[in-house]
Amino acid sequence: MSETFILNGKETPFTPGQMILEAARNGGVDIPTMCYLKGAAPTGACRICCVEVKGARSLMAACSTPVASGMEVFTDTELVHRSRKMIVEFMLSSGRHNCLLCEANGNCKLQDLAYFYKITKLQFTEKDEKDIYPTEDQNPFIVRDFSRCILCGRCVQACNEVMVNRAITQGYRGAESKIVTGGDSPYNESECVFCGHCVEVCPVGALTEKKAKGLGRPWEVQKIRTTCPYCGVGCQQWLHVKDGKIVKVTGVEEAEPNQGRLCVKGRFAYDFIYSEDRLKTPLIRKEDGEFREASWDEALDLVASRFKEIIQKDGPDALAGVSCARSLNEDSYQMQKLFRAVIGTNNIDHCART
């Protein structure tokens, strides 16, 4: 028999140790979050998940308040909504949250909440331009726009508690607070290894991808799931595709094995496929050693006829092939089948050994 608490007047089970947020979500009640990052220690920094708890002196942060047996929690009261709306209004005034000009438009929790609370104008004075830290984008991949940062600290947690690269931290105090790397130096002069997980978890447009800038709004792209082409971990990726072109790569949340994580190569080294250097037509070497373009028929006929000649003259074991450990299973299968069933040799290998 699991223990229960009262959620919006309804008896709801929970597991001892669970926070209100998690127990409420299991009970089918959603609570908005901003700073909460699954898998990291809850900080209760942003307060957007505030709820009423009977007997408590003030509203409580659902992400960091453990449930107790019999506790009465209200997530949908006027006080709760008034408070959340005000938090959103504070955030909107904390910088320059102009969605039209923001890369995160359509993929922003602040935008969603402002819309939900029907906010149409700023209630508080916007932060002065001179008090906003300048944008930093010295590196090739990540743009840090401090005018959009709400100091939720998700990037800090992602860097320290999830990816454990320990490059990002909270810097300065009070109104001067800033998310910093390496004693407030640019990303590329810090410990950062460009896994990009900070961008992945940023709930607003403070951290965005440089390479993807302007190439497609979230509602314009199709997301296609695939497997990373680099090392042998097999990370699952979303390829964001617009008009047949990959514009961005992100990790697939909850997927085995990577749980949404990627590395610098998986996230940023995808555009080699668009290189002008790609081989686009079969090539045949001429007498003078240079290559000339050829049709598929000519090239394949040449390969087949030379193979047949050599088999006839020197036997099938005079042919050998190495398959590709980067390419598909189906490609390697076909190649070994070609060597064994058609050419008639087991001289087929690949680079597993070297």
Partner: protein, 529 residues
């Protein structure tokens, strides 16, 4: 891997040997780091002070190529001090007495001398390993790329069996595979001795099965050549035609000068690739292939998980899927193959012919992939092999193994050890990462990593261009003075052509697998005038 990546974060004790995981398998490393900050005990055994050491309880900085002696020393302590799992050894394994006899020749003092560590470190490591169960062992090419690579792997297996750690979640012997589909290429039978699913070519029943499936009268019964033998035989005229699919051998193989001589000796060289490379220069015919995101198919990861790959963009020009190119060559040689898509190849051939993959069909891996063996379509896959110590082959077999030094060790003329590998920002010969916008900004050239001690002794400044020379060749490259590298070691990668480590590496091979000794050869370093 006997186990799964999902175990990494949950493991209580992790032994990483010969793996610079944060650079070569960064995402896998994040789960190890999660475990470590969550309280798991992390032990790193590596000649270099890799980044994982920051989170480790112990870093045992062994000499390059001393693994067998070191592990025998650890096992010596486990047995001498009665710290091993007797019940497991008695009920799940054979060969213990032979192992015991052998490791008794490696008391910690002797092992320590070979490994360049202290006997107390060996004892401490053994005691730690004996105290927490299960422990998870992970290794990478630091174990395999030696002339004794097979023996190194066997020693890792010996240790884990002795500790009773094979067959349990968060235990096992876990090689992290270097390339996205190196596991799959093996599974598919791109090996000279086995058909898909590791069915041996010298087994008549296996041949009969594939002859029927492929509709041919007979299949060759003699295992073929491994790649280094193929290359050597090009120079002897024994191999006339060589078909290189998606490999840049002219940069990746040891001793580039010799490799290029082999490639130039081919009577007929076919290269099938997505880019012109240093290797395609030697080709007679180059066939343009579709790349990663330009066709459907599957990759199989280190944890034996068959994952889907999907089409997201169009191949340039006339480039074609590789499977289709092979099919069209087969057709021109008189063989009509019916499968007309990657899915048809997998569902109708691969998974029908390989028993361990029988339960894996495309419709079952739309989301997360499945881990083989999955013998039927109801099977959910196998996260842990040899479950509960019940080995696939019956009993786990201990191998008594002696240490041998690397083929080439430092001497007066070449006083340094060169060890090689990959760096975080690039992949292999940069055919892909070098053409991905931004990556070259993060790492634009090769360096020779040397220790502060050696740099000081030789008067070499960080960033100064130096000469690194072996019996095979010489490169001029910037020195990177780093605490990661111990005295006497030079460390380089093979990402950049001009200063590629493979101008220097030694083309000597493990006698069983023909894996080259990329991790150890002798070099000298000199200041440039």
């Amino acid at each position: 891997m006997t186990n799964s990546f999902a175990d990494f974060k949950k493991a209580k004790m992790i032994l990483v040997i010969g793996s610079n995981m944060t650079e070569a398998h960064p995402v896998a490393a994040t789960f190890v780091k999660d475990a470590a900050i969550g309280g798991a005990e992390l032990i790193v055994v590596d000649p270099r002070r890799t980044d994982l050491v920051d989170l480790a309880k112990m870093h045992v900085q062994i000499n390059v190529g001393s693994d067998v002696a070191f592990l025998n020393g650890v096992m010596n302590v486990l047995i001498s001090e009665n710290l091993y799992d007797k019940t497991y050894v008695e009920s799940c394994t054979v060969g213990f007495e032979e192992l015991k006899k052998k490791v008794m020749d490696y008391p910690p003092e002797r092992a320590a001398e070979i490994a360049g560590v202290s006997a107390d470190e060996i004892r401490a490591l053994a005691r730690r390993l004996g105290a927490v169960k299960p422990a998870m062992l992970m290794y990478t090419l630091g174990i395999t790329e030696h002339i004794c690579g097979v023996n190194n792997v066997m020693s890792c297996a010996n240790l884990q069996m002795l500790l009773g750690n094979v067959g349990f979640e968060c235990g096992g012997v876990n090689p992290l595979r270097g390339q996205n589909n190196v596991q799959g290429a093996c599974d598919m039978g791109a090996l000279p001795n086995v058909f898909p699913g590791y069915q041996k070519v010298d087994n008549a029943d296996a041949r009969a099965k594939f002859e029927k499936a492929w509709n041919v009268k007979s299949l060759p019964d003699k295992p073929g050549m491994m790649m280094p033998t193929m290359m050597e035989n090009l120079t002897k005229g024994k191999v006339k035609a060589f078909y290189v699919f998606g490999e840049n051998l002219a940069n990746t193989e040891p001793d580039i000068k010799h490799v290029e001589h082999c490639l130039a000796s081919a009577e007929f060289l076919v290269c099938q690739d997505i880019f012109p490379t240093e290797t395609t220069r030697f080709a007679h015919v180059i066939l343009p292939a579709a790349a990663w995101s330009e066709n459907d198919g599957t990759f199989t990861s280190s944890e034996r998980r068959v994952n889907r790959v999907r089409t997201a963009s169009v191949a340039p020009g006339q480039a074609k899927p590789n499977w289709l190119i092979f099919k069209e060559i087969a057709k021109r040689m008189g063989h009509e193959w019916s499968a007309n898509s990657a899915q048809e190849i997998w569902d109708n051939e691969v998974s029908v012919l390989a028993p361990s993959l029988a339960g894996i069909k495309y419709r079952r891996i739309e989301q997360n992939g499945l881990q083989w063996p999955a013998p039927n379509e109801e099977h959910c896959g196998t996260p842990t092999l040899h479950k509960d110590g019940k080995f696939t082959c019956g009993l786990g077999v201990f191998k008594a193994i002696d240490w041998i030094p690397p083929a080439e060790v430092p001497d007066e003329e070449y006083p340094f050890v060169l060890s090689t590998g990959r760096r975080l920002y690039h992949y292999h010969t940069r055919t892909q990462t070098g053409r991905s916008q931004g990556i070259n900004e993060l790492l634009g050239e090769e360096t020779a990593d040397i220790s502060p001690v050696d740099a000081q002794t030789m008067g070499i400044a960080d960033g100064e261009k130096i000469s690194v020379k072996s019996r095979r060749g010489e490169v001029q490259v910037k020195a990177r003075v780093t605490r990661q590298v111990p005295k006497g070691l030079v460390w380089m990668a093979f990402h950049f052509r001009e200063a590629c480590a493979n101008w220097l590496t030694n083309p000597v091979y493990d006698p069983i697998t023909q894996t080259a000794e990329y991790k150890a050869c002798a070099v000298r370093i000199d200041k440039l005038d």
